[in-house]
Symmetry: C2
Subunit: 527 residues, 2 copies
């Protein structure tokens, strides 16, 4: 499939006139053709104008139309075939099996949101019928539904070129909510972005939707990304990336004349808590699973286990020995971009140079350029307590084990942690009472709590939370994975005494959409 390097603005495909970007081979750093034209501010304006013009029509599409649109996108991504995987492998350095899995996840996500749209519960329809006889005052007729916030800006992520990029979770949930989407492609995978973007653009045409439902922009600098957040027609944004990047977007968003929500998924070190009985009975097994999770995808997951707490003693020594041995046998892996690899090695170097931090193991030497070596560090509770730098995320396969003297100190250190996406407890039944003591502190600062597992491997389902208190995300009331993610892009509207002829279908008296609705506060399933 021939790549054009073009911006996709509504139904147009045009080469951007504001500089160019090239993808680079993750493994060599060599540029890959073609060039992609960066969007000008005029291009941005056009995309926003089209999105705005599309919004009223798109948000009122019926459940079948919108669900079929999401399913059509999914099918068209599948139809790209191996060209997508091969381009994505070159741009990201990620292996084929991983990307085939990620494609499945992306497509599955779109289909899940199609089901969510057909189900209709996300509309949150409520009816408080009129009570004309009520004393002292008659009660009005009130009906409530949720509608889309407006056009949404989505920023592609480096580490999920499919599942968190052009047609990823943010796009799927925003489109499901009835919001047009403008994607700012991640500059690390423009070719992948164009292929997926064209699939969406074609799905818009096939489903006879307004052209502004989707646009894809490339950014040769930062103007387009910043301009998107600042544009008055953009009403929310989704972002997955670094803390610095997310915070910059948050600041732009609150400085607007009309502030907007930014759902930025930023940084997390995902504490792992090893409890005494589990450590004693299964320490080596846990160590193996830990290192597998740590080095998965060169550690380039938001849910990578970057921190381990365990009570000091011979069992922990054995755990560290086993984990160190596993890390030492880990092959170096190509990282997503040369820049990410440089940042990773710098961060690892900084950690190793910290006071009272010892390097327990490094992975095998690189066999090619731009590969990252995994790293395992050990420190004490005192050193960890006094050094906020040890709480900073290292994006890559690096983790820090903290020897704590007692479980009380472990709890105290948990209470010193920032907000996290995940936390994992490794426990046997004899540990349950101690684990229970930690749960409140974990709930207050974590979006997902796991037992005897690791945070990598984020199931796309209905009960998933991939989000957490700041700074793991900008808005801890939300998730960016799973069906609950649709609620990020909705707001409630109430209708008082509207005649049937003017009510939206979701709220009409005979419930033509067959929705579950809350009647006078009680949930009633559609029959």
């Amino acid at each position: 499939m021939q790549l054009s390097g073009n911006l996709l603005i509504g139904r147009q495909s045009v080469f951007g006139g504001n500089g160019t970007i090239h993808a680079v081979h993750a493994s060599t750093g060599a540029a890959i053709e073609p060039a992609f034209g960066g969007a000008t501010l005029d291009d941005l304006d056009r995309a926003c104008a089209l999105a705005w013009a599309a919004f009223d029509t798109y948000r009122e599409t019926g459940p079948d139309v919108r669900a079929r649109f999401l399913e059509t996108i999914a099918q068209k991504i599948v139809d790209i075939g191996d060209d997508l995987i091969e381009r994505c492998m070159a741009e990201s350095g990620l292996p084929r099996t991983r990307l085939e899995g990620e494609r499945g996840r992306t497509v599955g996500q779109l289909r899940m949101f199609a089901d969510v749209v057909r189900d209709g519960d996300y509309i949150g329809a409520r009816v408080d019928p009129a009570q004309p006889e009520r004393k002292p005052l008659p009660r009005v007729d009130l009906r409530l539904r949720h509608i889309g916030l407006g056009p949404v800006a989505v920023f592609g992520a480096s580490n999920f070129p499919l599942a968190f990029s052009v047609a990823g979770g943010d796009t799927a949930s925003a489109l499901a909510a009835g919001c047009p989407v403008i994607v700012k492609a991640h500059s690390a995978h423009p070719g992948t972005s164009e292929l997926v973007g064209r699939a969406i653009q074609q799905a818009v045409v096939d489903c006879a939707l307004p052209e502004g439902t989707f646009s894809l922009l490339f950014d040769s600098g930062r103007d387009v990304g910043q301009g998107l957040i600042k544009d008055h027609r953009i009403k929310a944004a989704g972002f997955t990336g670094s803390r610095g990047g997310g915070m910059a977007l948050m600041q732009l968003a609150v400085a607007r004349p009309e502030p907007i929500p930014v759902y930025a998924e930023m940084s997390s070190i995902n504490p792992v808590l090893l409890f005494p009985h589990a450590l004693k009975n299964r320490g080596e097994t846990i160590a193996g699973a830990f290192v597998s999770s740590l080095v998965l995808g060169a550690g380039q997951f938001c849910t990578n286990p970057g921190l381990v707490f365990a009570v000091d003693g011979p069992e922990l020594d054995a755990f560290i020995r086993a984990a160190a041995a596993a890390v030492e046998n880990t092959a170096a892996q190509t990282m997503l971009t040369p820049g990410i690899r440089r940042a990773y090695e710098n961060a690892v170097e900084r950690t190793g140079a910290q006071e009272a931090v010892t390097t327990a193991a490094r992975g095998l030497d690189p066999t090619a350029g731009h590969q990252g070596r995994s790293a395992l560090f050990v420190t004490s509770a005192e050193a960890f307590r006094g050094n906020p730098a040890l709480q900073e995320e290292t994006f890559g396969a690096s983790s820090l084990i903290v020897r704590v003297p007692t479980l009380d100190v472990m709890l105290e250190l948990i209470e010193s942690l920032e907000g996290q996406l995940t936390s994992a407890l490794h426990i046997d039944e004899a540990d349950y009472a101690d684990a229970r003591r930690m749960l409140p502190a974990l709930e207050r600062r974590t979006g997902r709590i796991l037992v005897n597992g690791f945070g990598t491997g984020v199931e796309v389902g209905h009960a998933m939370v991939h989000g957490g208190p700041y700074p793991s995300t900008a808005d801890g009331r939300s998730t960016s994975v799973g069906s609950l993610a649709i609620h990020r892009f909705l707001r409630p509207v109430s209708y008082q005494d509207l005649p049937e002829a003017l009510l939206p279908d979701a709220l009409k008296r005979d419930n033509p959409l067959g929705l579950n609705r809350r009647i006078d506060g009680k949930l009633r399933l559609a029959t």
Copy 2:
């Protein structure tokens, strides 16, 4: 009932050492005894520490305990009896019937949230059961519930000394969500605040809840209010008041190391749209209802109809004549505070002095001090279009009628409006098609759309939205009235592979709380 002037910090009642405030008679401006001691920053710290200490216990109270707590507060407010009404009349200048009604609303609101807590749907429980046989990877067990955000700061409102103050909608919904509450009393009604605060304090004791579940602080300046927003243990805030006040809190909240949501309900002019057939057939009747809504409570409602759009012509002339005649016969009314009355008169004077604005009517002269005279202004579409000052809220009984040449221009002017709490359409059946054209623009910028009514009179129900896009509220994804308000103070937490012994009751396998739960994405009613 003797007032102490004391702060209520947990179970303590202590006189604040940071200056004093006095209530004043709304009608005379004379101080009312006793003095209320302003909180010091130490008092604030103590209240926050107690709230933080209470949070884990309070948020895990079962539905019956928490519901009975809300009901106990309601009953204790009723039990204060007429002392509450009399003190509140003196402090607010509001008449007895209004305050008796507002007390009923406040108590009803608390009882409604007790029902919401017992119902349990707010928990949003979801279960995706494990699928150990799934290929290629087994599926984990995932369960999701919502928990309280943490301690909430509530700022009392001047215009609802009961329903939006110490035990008002923000407090009721935060307590229902499992969040301890610290109220910063409005300085206009400290006595009312103490009486209601003591009712809550006593309910905390009677229900054997942790003392930090509730505290009440007086602020002799701005330090306590600002300090509350900045305190790291406060995780959200509720505010009803001016745009300036709300924006100041928003700015403090985003500048924190950990930003928090501020639910500020700020300003709205609540456009009223008069459509041609309704205007022709019922113009004078609508004019009467309009003026009744306008002058209700001296116009001191967030939903006061401050703006009217109608197509120019003899029918509009007749409407204006009828409305002007009604306004001219309106008695001046005591406003909430001398300061609010001054601000109102200044704003009215500024509006009357605007280019191309004519004063259609003023109400009757004051018969006592600190009374506001209602005001009705008329202008043209051109003048309105070019003058953003005419979009500013005047807090009080003032409204501006805009003569528009056509419905197309009306739509254009709607599109120029900021976010609003309400918008009202006055229509006959022959107007439906024209009304339908306006609905998308109204939905995009309004929380509640009414037909043939006015926004004043905000029903406390399940389908109510009292909220809207910025700047009507800080966060247009929320409502501050009605049962949906509880969602402002919740966040989702996901539990992966937790043993039954560690799962919260809401997510246990046999559903001991009898919750409606979403199983694999499908809503299942408890049987």
